[in-house]
Subunit: 384 residues, 4 copies
């Protein structure tokens, strides 16, 4: 009998982090893939991941709107509650054998709770890592609700076991986002015009002279500072005579602050070499990165994909604290001076050697294999 594997995608970045596993699951005879799309993955404003998913040939088993407007801590909690209600109905209908909860976004705990309470095995992808902000609580809380752990690094596996999970439930698969990075690294030419394909607003740019990429998200536990923080970054990158490609932030509490900071900067400083994008298909984004002079901000992509790609990264603030990192990363504070200095050092050094810390490019395959074949249990106890 085929096993029903249900994957819940709640955001554009989560899709990138699971896509190669989905492709591998779809290719297997022993698996029936059920794909559920929810939360910001349904919304135009956040990149309409559901369209990318369909364009990649997947047919969602269910699509649900679960995000409550407000983009503040209260609505984060309420959206999670609504997601939990809806996902329980969805699982009741689909009756999966195992449900996959991806990473650590606030709403992904709804996936884990619904499945755990309904006596369905829960598999968690990307547990055991250490970062700042509310993600940290979400990630480890999901670990404690999960029966199967598909982690990206050896260090993450150690952490999951230390938290009391059975060692044989933990599998080091690498991160599927590195699979995409590996594809791009194998054929790195920038084969499209970013401004032409993705529009966006801001200056016309000549990317041949090299460019920086900026991606900075608000930190939930400090969301009122989001505006100030992004302004430091913008002033720093503006000091260099290089084109800057900036991406709008994710839908977390505080993204209004970040967006507001970006808008203010645009109007007051009228930067001559900045262009602003809403989002980009994962492959295109990685291609943009591998051809860049570096990435600046606090996105995990600077630490994860860029370690494999060897792209210089300036990592700002507490959001990625304690996450394992390769040599391509320089950590700085929310301070335009520190940020500019780090950029300067990177520009001098140029690209770094590839580091397989987050995966070797075959994570999707391994994840699919564990999901299809691992023994499924729903009862566990602390191993101490």
């Amino acid at each position: 009998m085929t096993r029903k594997v249900c994957v819940v995608v709640t955001a554009r970045p989560s899709y990138s982090r699971i896509k190669t596993a989905l492709l591998a699951l779809r290719a297997r005879d022993d698996v029936e893939l059920q794909l559920v799309v929810a939360a910001s993955a349904m919304l135009d404003k956040y990149g309409l991941a559901v369209s990318q998913i369909q364009a990649d040939g997947f047919e969602p088993s269910a699509e649900v709107f679960t995000l409550i407007e407000g983009e503040n801590p209260t609505t984060m909690a309420k959206s999670t509650g609504l997601g939990l209600i809806e996902l329980a109905s969805v699982f009741d209908n689909l009756r999966p054998d195992v449900v996959v909860s991806i990473a650590d976004r606030f709403e992904t705990i709804a996936t884990a709770i619904a499945a755990a309470y309904m006596n369905i095995a829960v598999a968690h992808v990307q547990g055991g890592e250490i970062t700042g902000s509310i993600d940290e609580k979400v990630r480890h809380s999901v670990t404690k609700l999960s029966d199967l752990h598909l982690v990206s690094t050896r260090g993450a596996a150690d952490n999951v076991v230390r938290m009391g999970e059975e060692p044989n439930s933990v599998h080091v698969t690498g991160c599927p986002s590195i699979d995409l990075a590996a594809e791009v690294a194998a054929d790195p030419a920038l084969d499209f015009e970013p401004l032409e394909r993705y529009g966006g607003v801001g200056a016309s740019l000549d990317l041949d002279e090299g460019y920086l990429v900026v991606m900075q998200h608000p930190v939930t536990s400090e969301h009122e500072l989001a505006r100030t923080h992004v302004l430091e970054t913008l002033h720093a990158v503006n000091e260099f005579d290089l084109p800057v490609l900036l991406f709008w932030p994710n839908p977390d509490a505080g993204s209004d602050g970040t967006s507001n900071g970006i808008r203010t900067f645009r109007e007051l400083e009228q930067p001559k070499k900045m262009h602003f994008f809403k989002n980009m298909a994962p492959h295109d984004f990685l291609r943009l990165l591998v051809n860049s002079r570096g990435i600046v901000g606090n996105s995990s992509v600077g630490i994860r994909e860029c370690s494999y790609l060897g792209v210089p990264a300036v990592n700002i603030g507490s959001r990625q604290d304690k996450r394992e990192r390769g040599r391509n990363v320089v950590d700085v504070d929310y301070d335009r001076g520190q940020i500019a200095a780090a950029i300067g050092r990177h520009l001098e050094h140029g690209p770094y050697a590839s580091d397989p810390i987050y995966g070797d490019g075959r994570a999707g395959e391994r994840i699919a294999d564990v999901l299809a074949t691992a023994e499924l249990r729903t009862v566990k106890r602390l191993t101490y």
Copy 2:
């Protein structure tokens, strides 16, 4: 400035496990106590804890109905989602400094998520213990969402720290339910007629000859077996020529099975010495226990309160697996023979010496003190 401490009570047993802490909080000048009553604590069917709470002189700051009918795994998940939505609105209004999530019932994770996502410090009472069923996932998941850990035993404290929590955020306070047990132990006379005060159905009983107490809950992960399990217990206790006082189960998935088993037994066997209660005020219940010949079933009260009271306990099945226990407990399987044998042994032995493993009777005071004075943080990271 006084600190706003918000305690969310979602069930009758949870109230017993926090009552002395509530009294101690109310007595303090440096604390404003906010009491929120939700889920089964609002419902007549489950003992209407809200009435007991008001009878004890507390004025709830908010009362919300959050339980979705069905008593199955799907509605457990959905009720948790609805609780999350409602509690977010409640906290948005009350703006507490710290929120207390009690123990490990399925819906208590909603309390922890709402507070954590809203950047409010979360204090968890009774974390770190090890048991069977879905409670295990809930309890440790709540630990990972919490900033302050108020645990009952030294062993629980060790477990919480091993899971990666900062040692100085963990406080061994004992369990407030032992505080009630200590009050009763100091003055143990059975000063009321249980059948007269609480009604119930079944035979009239002469309690002077000694009696057994039975309390058996369905085990979530095995809920279809609930009916069979309780029948084994009922047949076992029926073999002794002793009055039996039986309590109906908690509102978990599967309680319909247990209730159905009890009803079937009543009709088929027409037991001559059994009486069936819906619920009892905590003090009365403890007084009933301390005067009994023993407790049979899988309630944690057999392991926790009865260790302090020295009441013989027959603990059946997996529900309390791995929970620390005193000498008063004999563990058996869902098997009428084993159950009867254990009862026989206990009847021969009589009462046990008091064991302070779960507390010395001053837990409420200690919990109030920590909640009032501990430094409150909302950001944490794994300590590994």
Copy 3:
């Protein structure tokens, strides 16, 4: 192309009122029937209509738990809200051409709102009647959300048009519940032993001597009086030396009061000739009625089905005020004297002639025909 007709069943009595239409819809080539089961129709406690539905060979397209525990006015409102959320997701998935909202139970307005807001045509069955309690507001409010009106009587049709609906959107079909009554009237022998087939509690009865049926629901707007009201009824029927078959009430706010009244009466009066049923399959119930000496209470069955069957009915209180009625009905107040007098008169008179006021037995067919072939619109305006 076949038309997708989606019927939402939210309660056991609603199923009886639509069953023959469902059978007729299923038999058509030009219709794809989508059956959604929700609210109390999912719950054991209220007769588990979903099992009857499946036993009748229907395969629900979706099943959702939407009832919030409490059985009070607050939870009625909240259950409706939860139903609305869930049904929107269900319709989003099923994409029906027309949605059928049945009668006037509180939760049925969620069906109408979800469909209307989603630009799906709404067909309302049993609009235009006049009764007491909150049903009155619900029924007419649903009429104003609906595009197609399938009413039971000529008087109801007149009322719907007076409210401003276009005359050609109103169809007098009769009530499908009369279709069942007609089947039973054609072959009326009591071919089963009610106590044997349905269990229940109370006295053993010899039905050959004739018997009364009692069915009394709480009236929402007076729910605190529910206990007193049912006690008047019970005292009245107890005066006759006839077996009494009593049915527990529907899940409305106040049913706890009614249930409590019934329980109190049983314990205090220990009636020798009463038996208490939870529910009964529609055919069996009608067969029971047609062989009875009369029905007492405030159920609409006394007015609707019993007008066709000619069964004497004592209608108590305000619940059925202003509903069109046949000669079989005597109206009385909540007063044991009046109730007993009316029963006495009916016993003397015996059965009444059949009255086709609520239908001729072919309503299901007519409803299916309209749903399959009527022009579907979703925009309308008052016709004044």
Copy 4:
């Protein structure tokens, strides 16, 4: 004893339509005003009405986020369901004597249902009018849930009575939005610089030469056409050599289409004399209107306030069909030719005489008086 009057404001325009009644209620000794703010009234994106409310000196009794992201028919339904759940909890806490549901926005039915189901009297403001789109269904449905009808016009009163409401429950008060218009008409000078105070985007304008105001909302039942419709309007107003002040649409399903049309026009046509505003305080907006050469679009303001103010209005399409109107209105189709012709005629004619059809400027006072003193009932029946 003072009567508790609870008003639920769910949107910026709803606030304008009730503000003078709120002021009059606050001024009374016999009323305790409870103000609940929900849905889009909580959101920055839709003008953050809650801030205006607080700036006007009102202290909301409760604020709830109830809007689910998506701006499509499915999320309209779900947002209404969430609002219903939240408002039930709010009313359970506030225990009002009468609840006021304003006008006909989709979410206002949640206010009416929650109150009606909870046996609280429902007062409906602005019932009985006739318009197009989903508002029509909502408005009359709310009428059937309401116990007290505070209507704007004599014609509306007639309609409500025809729908079966008791004549003595219907009060012609006029519309409070006309109260604001009357204040402005008494002192009409444009005493602020719109572009300076409200920012917005687009051309700098010299308003001294006269200007047109454009306000066009998507029509729910035709939401896919929203983009095309607004483009016709923009092309028409662009033909005149007059400054145009355009306002972004309300948050209804389809507003993305309208917004997209506006954005497209801006980019392709680069209009030299258009400026785009997000929103404006009600007084400022009325002042802007009274000094304009006319209003173009489908906002009810063109028909209601502008009838009193005598401002020429070009009303486009079906949205205001059948609404009573004064001589200031010319109706046209979604056609740039017709729209331009109507503007031309109005420019020639100039301002119209004031018409009191929607009120004489004292509606707020009258509404407050009825709410404070009318007998409150919660049970009603069709009057036929």
